[in-house]
Amino acid sequence: MRKMTLRHTLLLVFFIGMASCRKEFLEVVPTGRLIAEKTLDYELMLNSSDLTLYSLAGFYAILGDEVAARNPFFGTRPVKDQRLFRYENDVYNPGEDPTELTAVTRTLYLVNKIINEVMDSKGGTDEQKRGIRAEAMTCRAWVYLHFANLYTKPYNPSTAASDPGFPIIREADINKTPYVRSTLKELYDFIVGDLTAAVPDLPVTITSRHRASRVVASALLARAYLAMGRHGEALIASENAIGALRANTGIAARLYDYNIEMLTGGALFSTTMATTGPAQPTLPNHIESVYGKQDINGTVGSTVNHFIITPQVASLYGAADLRRRYYSNTGLTYPVGALRRLGPSIQPTGMNVPEIYLMRAEGRVRSNNLYGAGSAAEDLLFLRLRRMPSAAAAVPAGMTQSQMLQYVMDERLRELAFSGLRWFDMRRMSVDPQFSAINRSHVLYFADGSTQNYPLRPERLTLRIPPRILNDNPGMQDNP
């Protein structure tokens, strides 16, 4: 009997032992993976490569009116590119994913997560947390400017409150569905709201081109206001951006002087300048970039035969303009005067210094500050002096306000052609009373000299919502 008791005791001990060891057993913290908790974790999320690489510029570039196409090369392009160029109503096949949005929506999830969670994170000061949140909000506004420029009508203040916008997504929730389109006004108010809230919390000093600073938020705000036709506010925002740029004591952020940098030993010097164009500094070393997003642009390159810059736009460059080194006519037998964009095929987007100066110049023109100290002409000259020898850089004197406005838009073309920003400009010009209605179209050139025109109808300044998104969000209204 005693033996039995002993055995029972052993059994009991065995089962208790079994039950007690299990809690800690499953509590293993893995290496290489983590769940965000500390403020630092959120800060590191801002360093993510998910906020760096996009493929939007090439998509916009095909839509821009500075671009023309050539056959037979155009006929070898993917069907999607051909449809975009022809301004067709439907770009995608129904099952096709709008791949240019893949990276943007991934970014949106990440920044929404940061915005919603960072204030409750552990270990950081309130100032750090606000700074991280402000960076994420800046990035969210940047994402929404893309949505707005792709899928909403150009902003018309009188109809914006009723025009359909785009779904405003504030939550990082993978299962949320369906989304509903906001109004256009709500959409822009959301963008402006994010940027306005972000500016005071952001650092003036630029420590990394990958990260947002006050320059970036102010410049994006200027971009948004320009799109909304609120030129006075755009001017203030661009002045704030340049003010922050001046106050920056961090890494270099200014314009390259092509007169120097394209010489041997310069940052833009290339041994193959004639065939492949100027060299391209890597993004961390690219001093014109203040918000380093990298964009892959398949429409440019020394072997690209299908897309060219139109003879009209090519003629905007003066003979001494060093920006022309980004173009070549080698092997281009037709059309006469057109140029091939050599590069860079991977370009820094996000926000660059030249655009900031051009936005201020435009703002100054619109406030009729044309010539003299602190004028539009001064901004334009400042840029042009770094793009060509001083002898050729002078801004024509005696232009009227509207002439100078046109001059700014031409300067934007010269500076920003093939970067995708032309599409933004075409859209805002279409609702701007300063510009008379222009019938824009794309031209396809054939080797025999014949051409084919693809007119841009006003409704196609707004792309249709990709079918994948319409299907994911039943009831969502498509664009006409």
């Binding site: 893995p30 993976r33 999320m45 993510s48 999830y109 990958h210 290339s270 100027p278 035969n305 079918p467």
Partner: protein, 1228 residues
């Protein structure tokens, strides 16, 4: 009827004794053949003065019992007179024999007749005092065995065991030997050695074709007698597994042997590209039990070896396998919890038998698979190729200036030699006549013989295994050592596996038993830098000069587009940039070694009567290391250097090398894994009321951990003799790079160093489980089984509540044959009905789905520090995949078990399938791991085993395994991706209302007058526009599924004396596949550039084109005679060639029947083998994989057709078809 009379004998005494012994064993054999007897015979007999011999014969024919007697003695006895009516056999015999001086014993269905005087006691030997021994005979599961004949060796003293398995016997001496025999059990001899009490375990005799319904069911946790198990489990035939020794992978030997198990046949070095016939997917689906139950990547069953789960079944030496059980339904499998939803394969390895003399066995086989058919692809001849290239050449759309320009990427197209000639002619650098001459000379070259000469060889597999087993009273052991040499089809590759396995069993006391298994394997391999080439490569490109043998130059295949680019770079860098594949062979080497150790131990302790504790402990480690060395002279190292070289400024100065200009690149990867399992369980195994109630209860706990780590390092400037390397400024090379290098790798005339030089990963999984299992049997007729299990793991970022999903099952078995109303049907030996129901589950695989966002390092080289990105998106809605299993089974054995078999009907309803679920595109990503639908599998499995002819010298057995499976997706979460015709046809595998892995096709309508493909829409109209916008899905045609509806095997086994012949025919029927057709109808006619990076085997597998292109539309009117679309170099957007490629005309019937193998084995006559010192010597010869019938007429072997949706490969090179295996087995 029995012909077992004793033959005449001239002397009595010891010889006669011997004879009787022989008789008994033969009788036992005979008894197993003749069982169709009247168990309770009533005899009526009226004879006067009849010989005893005749009486015996009459009784024999009336009762069917086997009689065993010395014919000489019986013949000499006096005649008898007998008059009985409805008397029992015992009474009749007593009556007849009494007067003749004989006595009899009835043992089972055998009668032994012997003289009343015991012949065994010779007067010469002084009598030894007899002793009484008692014992109990049990089966492997510990259940008592009744009716076992226990004979004292060398005497006629015999008895048989009771219902409780007990026996009692008087033996003449302490040194006596007991011989235990029974119809279905292996004969066993036990030395008494002075002990008075025994427990003897007997193993089932391997009678070919009967094992399915007789052997106990081993679930890995316990072994339950088959008659008490309600679950659906299958035991593949052991003899065939053993004879089918042409592979060391046990699973490959099971093909066709288990109804419901589908084995994809992939063998040899190129198995990695795999056979995807059954699933349309990768290698993870090589083995599938009862159809596809999950749409996740891994659908393989769980492999359990000696109670421990292992991942890689291929490392187990098939020669060590003793027993395989495949668990198919919920009752059988749910004890394995969340990982068992795809079925479980339970394997036990061999062990020594107690009190057995040492046995040594040697087995060897040499499997010759022949050379891979590297010209299996339908491709053009050189002459056709050049002719087509001339027709398609378009220097306007693809100007020389563009195609010849050095780009930064290695992707893109090369400028191949025939194009250079064409462009030279177009650019007027050479005359048309000269060009024609050059093209004609290319057209005359066929490189296939050089391909075979330099890059292929015959494949073979060689294995030898030496094993030793034996045992004493306390300790028994089994040990084996094997070496497997695998000669792949690629010259210069070496691959060998050494394994060692040692199992020790200790019977420390009647209460305590222990076992320890040590299993070691070492795999060593090495390869050179061979190219992977087949007839898809340019047909005219020779690899060496046919006259001088000098290796041919092919740098045009690399990023060095043209000779002039190469020359410029060579001048600037002063580095030779020639690429000659044959020269590269010895300029690099990859070596790998893997050491695997598995230790398994177990203990069984009897605590109380019927209650025992069992412990099982497994510990395994794997260490593997791989090294890659590419010498300074190798092309990848040279070309890498050029991209980081700045040209010399003047001819007198040297270029600036930013990577070490001397030494090669060396990288190592070290992988370590360790795992352990601890399992403790209490087992109550009891019976009461004279075994009317039998109860087995099991309660246990299990903990597991798996940990793996991988580290890799790369150094440059490595010298393999001095073992040193050079430092490199990776910080600058990675961030700023080199501007204006000789050959820029990145845009903007810059090279950035992007390859990681170090990586480290670790994963750790822990699982804690509790489980219980119960079995109750009443009156040997009614059994109830139930099981329950809960697993919890350390899944990171998962809610605890999500883990509480126990799996369970319940089942019943009705052993009909034990019912009184069936007893009178004496031709039914086995009849049982089984019904089970249960839930199995599949947890999302670790890390694939969590309730919180899981972050991993996702750094941008542009950011100031490390970056974090999301690896798994939080998905709180995710739940387990749950499968309801129903199984109705019937076990039967008829006509004295000459026909046995099982029939199972099952249904598996799976809900909340886990898979890639497309989500709202705006939410953050395009798809996540989620629950996206429901499906069910219904099927029938039949296994019939017949003993067609059974004779002493000749036997013929047949096994038919047949399974039918129909799978239907019943619900699919509505996703946007399937609302378009193109998506449905070209990308959809799962669609509600159709089987998983369905094939949809465009309804082919032929070519139009421009040679463009057309399809029929639902309304019957023809359509050719590229876009499929707004086409109703009804236009798609459902063509069938990639999964076979029917599969199984037909096995035959013929034995004539010492000669065995077996054949297995496997069949897969009722499924479809897509043909590999030409897909390229635009662009240039030239190969893709080849990535030649360190450690790689460059793939020269593009360049030549599908021979269908010869039949393409070329002029109006061709559409009447051909379906092959026109080739266009521009304006390709006007049509969609996918309509052709994915057209209904290209879906073929993939059914086939193959002779998987036919094996003949022959033993040397015993006299010969004895002289060699061996007990048995057997030779075998086997021929594998002969196609008997296939439904398609396109020359496609469906086993080697990648019918993947993505349509990337089409065919894989067949290997092992018609393979010949020679084998030898020697037992000492």
């Amino acid at each position: 009827m029995s012909k077992l009379n004793a033959t005449s004998s001239k002397s009595h005494g010891s010889q006669a004794r011997l004879r009787i012994m022989r008789l008994i064993s033969v009788a036992t054999l005979a008894a197993c053949i003749h069982i169709s007897t009247f168990a309770h015979a009533q005899v009526t007999l009226a004879e006067t003065n009849i010989t005893l011999q005749r009486v015996i014969r009459k009784l024999q024919s009336m009762t069917g019992f086997d009689f065993l007697y010395d014919a000489d003695l019986v013949a000499r006895s006096a005649p008898v007179t007998v008059r009985v009516k409805d008397a029992s056999l015992d009474v009749v015999l007593t009556h007849c024999l009494k007067s003749s001086g004989f006595t009899h014993t009835i043992i089972g269905r055998s009668v032994v007749i012997r003289p009343a005087v015991d012949l065994s006691i010779s007067s010469d030997i002084p009598p030894i005092p007899p002793m009484i021994v008692r014992g109990r005979v049990v089966d492997e599961a510990g259940a008592p065995l009744s009716g076992v004949t226990v004979t004292v060796k060398g005497s006629s003293t015999a008895t048989s065991t009771t219902e409780a398995g007990d026996f009692e016997l008087t033996v003449p001496s302490e040194e006596s030997v007991l011989v235990l025999t029974a119809v279905n059990l292996e004969r066993i001899e036990v030395v008494v050695k002075g002990r008075a009490s025994f427990e003897i375990q007997m193993r089932p005799r391997i009678v070919y074709g009967q094992d399915v319904v007789i052997r106990p069911v081993n679930t890995g946790y316990q072994s339950l007698p088959n008659e008490r198990s309600a679950g659906s489990a299958a035991k593949p035939n052991e003899v065939l597994i053993r004879d089918r020794a042409n592979s060391t992978n046990i699973m490959q030997r099971l093909d066709g042997l288990v109804p419901g198990l589908t084995v994809s046949f992939a063998q040899g070095a190129r198995a990695s590209s795999g056979n995807r016939m059954m699933t349309g997917e990768g290698n993870a689906n090589q083995y599938i039990v009862r159809g596809i139950g999950s749409v996740q990547a891994d659908r393989a069953p769980l492999f359990v070896v000696n109670g421990i789960v292992i991942d890689d079944i291929s490392t187990l030496n098939a020669n060590d396998v003793e027993d395989v059980t495949v668990l198919k339904d919920a009752t059988a499998a749910s004890i394995w919890g969340s990982r068992a939803a795809n079925g479980v394969v339970v394997i036990t390895t061999r062990k020594g038998t107690a009190r057995q003399k040492i046995r040594v066995q040697y087995d060897a086989f040499y499997n010759m698979q022949g050379t891979p058919e590297y010209d299996y692809y339908p491709r053009m001849s050189s002459a056709d190729f050049i002719r087509t290239a001339e027709q398609i050449f378009d220097p306007v759309t693809f100007p020389w200036g563009t195609v010849s320009q050095f780009g930064t990427t290695t992707s893109g197209l090369s400028v191949s030699p025939h194009e250079v000639i064409q462009y030279n002619r177009f650019r007027r650098l050479i005359s048309p006549q000269r060009a024609q001459q050059q093209l004609d000379s290319l057209a005359a070259i066929d490189n296939r013989s050089q391909m075979g000469e330099y890059f292929y060889r015959s494949q073979s597999l060689f294995n030898n295994t030496l094993s030793v087993s034996g045992g004493g009273n306390v300790h028994s052991f089994y040990g084996s050592f094997s070496y497997t040499g695998n000669q792949s089809g690629v010259p210069g590759e070496r691959n060998g596996v050494y394994t060692m396995n040692l199992r020790n069993d200790f019977n420390i006391s009647p209460r305590v038993r222990l076992f320890i298994i040590t299993d070691l394997s070492r795999t060593e391999g090495s390869r050179k830098r061979s190219v992977s080439v087949d007839n898809r490569f340019l047909p005219y490109q020779l690899f060496a000069d046919p006259v001088t043998g000098r290796p041919a130059e092919m740098s045009y295949l690399s990023y060095l587009v043209t000779d002039s680019v190469k020359r410029v770079f060579e001048n600037q860098s002063r580095i030779d940039l020639n690429y000659r594949p044959l020269e590269e062979l010895d300029r690099g080497k990859t070596e790998s070694a893997t050491m695997q150790t598995r230790l398994t131990g177990g203990a069984s302790v009897r605590l109380l009567r019927g209650l025992r504790y069992e412990g099982n402990f497994g510990f395994g480690t794997t260490g593997s290391s791989t090294s890659n060395y590419d010498a300074e002279a190798s092309f990848p190292v040279r070309s890498n250097l050029v991209t980081f070289t700045k040209a010399a400024v003047a001819p007198s100065t040297v270029p600036t090398y930013l990577l070490p200009p001397f030494g090669g690149q060396y990288s190592t990867t070290e992988q370590q894994a360790r795992s352990w399992t601890v399992r403790n369980q209490l087992v109550l195994d009891t019976s009461f009321d004279a075994r009317r109630h039998q109860l087995t209860l099991l309660l246990g706990q299990e903990a597991q951990e798996r940990f793996s780590r991988s580290t890799s390092n790369t150094v440059l400037g490595y010298d393999p003799l001095l073992l040193n390397y050079q430092n490199v400024d990776f910080f600058t090379l990675g961030l700023t790079g080199v501007s204006n290098p000789v050959a820029a790798r990145n845009t903007g005339n810059r090279s950035l160093y992007a390859q990681p030089v170090f990586s480290h990963t670790e994963t750790m999984t822990r699982v804690s489980s509790y489980y219980s299992n119960a079995g109750y049997t009443f009156s040997r007729r009614y059994s109830l089984n139930a099981s329950w299990r809960n697993d919890e793991s350390n899944l990171f970022g998962v809610d605890k509540s999500a883990q509480r999903k126990p799996v369970w099952s319940i089942g019943g078995k009705w052993n009909l044959v034990q019912e009184a109303f069936l007893k009178r049907f004496n031709r039914i030996d086995i009849l049982a009905l089984r019904l089970t129901y249960g839930i199995t589950g599949n947890a999302p695989s670790p890390g694939s789905a969590t309730s919180q966002d899981v972050l991993v390092v996702r750094s941008s080289s542009f950011a100031p520090g490390p970056g974090l990105g999301i690896s798994t998106y939080a998905n709180k809605a995710l739940t387990w995949e749950r499968t309801e299993n129903y199984n109705l089974g019937l076990d039967f054995g008829l006509l004295g078990r000459r026909v046995t078999g099982t029939l199972d009907l099952y249904r598996r309803n799976t809900t909340d399938l886990i898979g890639q679920l497309p989500i709202n595109y705006l939410a953050g990503t395009s798809s996540i791991v989620g629950n996206f639908g429901d499906m069910n599998n219904r099927g029938v499995e039949l296994s019939i085993n017949t003993l067609n002819v059974v004779d002493r010298d000749f036997s013929w057995n047949t096994v038919l395994n047949l399974s039918y499976n129909r799978n239907t997706i019943t619900r699919l979460q509505q996703t946007s991706s399937i609302n378009d015709l193109a998506t449905l046809v070209q990308q959809t595998k799962y669609y509600a209302g159709y089987p998983a892995l369905s094939i949809f096709a465009y309804d082919w309508a032929g070519l139009d007058a421009m040679g463009d493909p057309q399809i029929f829409l639902a309304d019957g109209s023809k359509y050719k526009t590229a876009t499929t916008t707004n086409i109703p899905l009804a236009a798609a045609r459902y063509m069938g599924s990639f999964q076979p509806l029917w599969n199984g095997g037909l096995l035959n086994f013929i034995r004539y004396r010492n000669f065995n012949l077996s054949s297995s025919i496997i069949f897969n029927l009722g499924h479809r596949g897509r043909r590999d057709v030409n897909e390229k109808y635009s662009g240039r006619f030239t190969p893709n550039r080849v990535t030649i990076s360190p450690g790689s085997s460059p793939e020269l597998q593009t360049g030549n084109f599908h021979s269908d292109l010869l039949k393409r539309w070329m002029k109006p009117g061709d559409e009447l005679v051909t379906d092959v679309p026109v080739y266009l170099t521009t304006n390709t957007a006007r049509r969609n060639t996918a309509y052709y490629v994915f057209g209904s005309q290209h879906v073929y019937d993939a059914s086939f029947i193959k002779l998987r193998d036919i094996t003949a084995s022959m033993g040397l006559p015993q006299a010969v083998s004895r002289r060699l010192g061996a007990e048995e010597v057997r030779f075998r010869i086997q021929l594998s994989n002969l196609m008997l019938w296939k439904a398609n007429r396109f020359g496609i072997d469906p086993e080697f057709q990648v019918t993947d949706i993505n349509y990337t490969l089409g065919r894989v090179l067949p290997v092992g078809q018609g393979a010949l295996t020679l084998g030898l087995n020697v037992r000492f």
